[in-house]
């Protein structure tokens, strides 16, 4: 390794791009007979869910949303519509309480699947950011040693638990592992700027991902609240009916 270049994984930016393309897969989910199929897609597209569009339309006629329009979806994740009034909501869906609850539960499951995927992506990114930082650290160390005339002595791992000693003389370049079995030699300056760029990309991706997760969790919360309300409404209706029945007799 004398005079040679250190090998660092660069985690190329395309890999972020691939990871971040939000492969939510074709998650075809049937929404029951009242609506067409809806799916999470990679490209933003208007909601193919007529039921919810109807609901959106009515809920915007009563002015519940301060700050204007409600987002219909975010990067392929459909928004959960807020239910103003349970009775109207059920009429719109044209479903009874039980099928509505089943439909909402199904939707909740779908959200959970997407959440798992996003969380996995988040963990990935959170692991990669320190990795890149480490690489930057090494390049900085090499650069700092350059021109001092003394070699950098290092112990490096050859194989699990086996270390060997390397003497790195004045070096101008490092090799970055770009992935896909490709390694490229860069000058220290170029390597730093590439790694820096990758770091920024990773951080930006993480930020977007966190926002996606927040959006998703809001939809989960809305759906959970809706389920509770539909359920409570049903219980309430039954009691009213029971009360009036016992009065009649």
């Amino acid at each position: 390794m004398r005079g040679g270049a250190a090998v660092l994984p660069a985690s190329s930016s395309d890999r972020w791009a691939v990871a971040m393309a939000m492969r939510l897969e074709r998650h075809d989910c049937s929404l029951g007979s009242h609506s067409k199929q809806m799916r999470y897609s990679t490209t933003p597209q208007p909601l193919r869910h007529q039921g919810s569009r109807k609901i959106m339309a009515t809920s915007s006629s009563s002015p519940p949303q301060p700050g204007g329009a409600v987002v219909a979806e975010r990067r392929g994740i459909p928004a959960a519509s807020f239910v103003e009034d349970v009775q109207t909501y059920l009429n719109q869906l044209g479903l009874d309480v039980n099928s509505t609850l089943a439909f909402l539960q199904e939707r909740l499951q779908q959200y959970k699947v997407v959440e798992m995927k996003l969380l996995a992506q988040q963990r990935d990114l959170q692991a990669k950011i320190p990795d890149i930082e480490k690489c930057l650290d090494v390049v900085a160390t090499l650069q700092a040693k350059k021109g001092t005339g003394e070699a950098l002595l290092t112990d490096f791992e050859v194989s699990e638990g086996i270390y060997s000693r390397a003497r790195i003389e004045d070096t101008d370049s490092v090799c970055l592992w770009l992935g896909a079995n490709v390694m490229l030699e860069y000058s220290c300056e170029e390597a730093t700027s590439l790694l820096q760029k990758n770091l920024e990309n990773a951080k930006a991706s993480l930020e977007v991902l966190v926002a996606d997760l927040q959006f998703l969790r809001d939809q989960v919360t809305i759906t959970q609240v809706t389920i509770a309300r539909v359920y409570n409404w049903d219980v309430h209706q039954r009691r009213v009916r029971q009360a009036s029945a016992s009065q009649d007799s």
């Binding site: 250190a6 660092l8 519940p64 949303q65 301060p66 807020f82 103003e84 349970v86 480490k134 690489c135 650290d137 090494v138 160390t141 950098l152 002595l153 290092t154 112990d155 490096f156 791992e157 270390y163 390397a166 927040q214 969790r217 809001d218 919360t221 809305i222 959970q224 609240v225 509770a228 309300r229 409570n232 409404w233 219980v235 309430h236 039954r238 009691r239």
Partner: protein, 127 residues
Amino acid sequence: MQQAGGGSETEVTWEDQQNINKFGRLNNRYHELEDEIRIAKEANENFEDASNELILTDEEVVRFQIGEVFAHVPKDEVEMRIEKMTETTSKHLEKLKDEKDAVVAQMADLKKVLYAKFKDSINLEED
């Protein structure tokens, strides 16, 4: 966080829903912050251990891990590096703690608002 039983229907408005969402977000962030704070504290403890060991050792050159490799670095430079790392982590830790305080305060406010409206038909406590 769910509204439990009870046949009585309290009207849930979009504003309430948004408050509930916000509470959910804050609660999530709170747990993230707790984790991050724990990690930062551990890092600082490790730095402290390392610098204590440095004081005890007789060696002039120590192996300092940079990335995946152990570089042979003079003792005083390592001391400097550890000091710098401790400083960075401590600053980060302060920021995290401040954010946690802010989150806790906001959650307390939202709890007041939501409990006032929904009484015991909403549960905002951890299990």
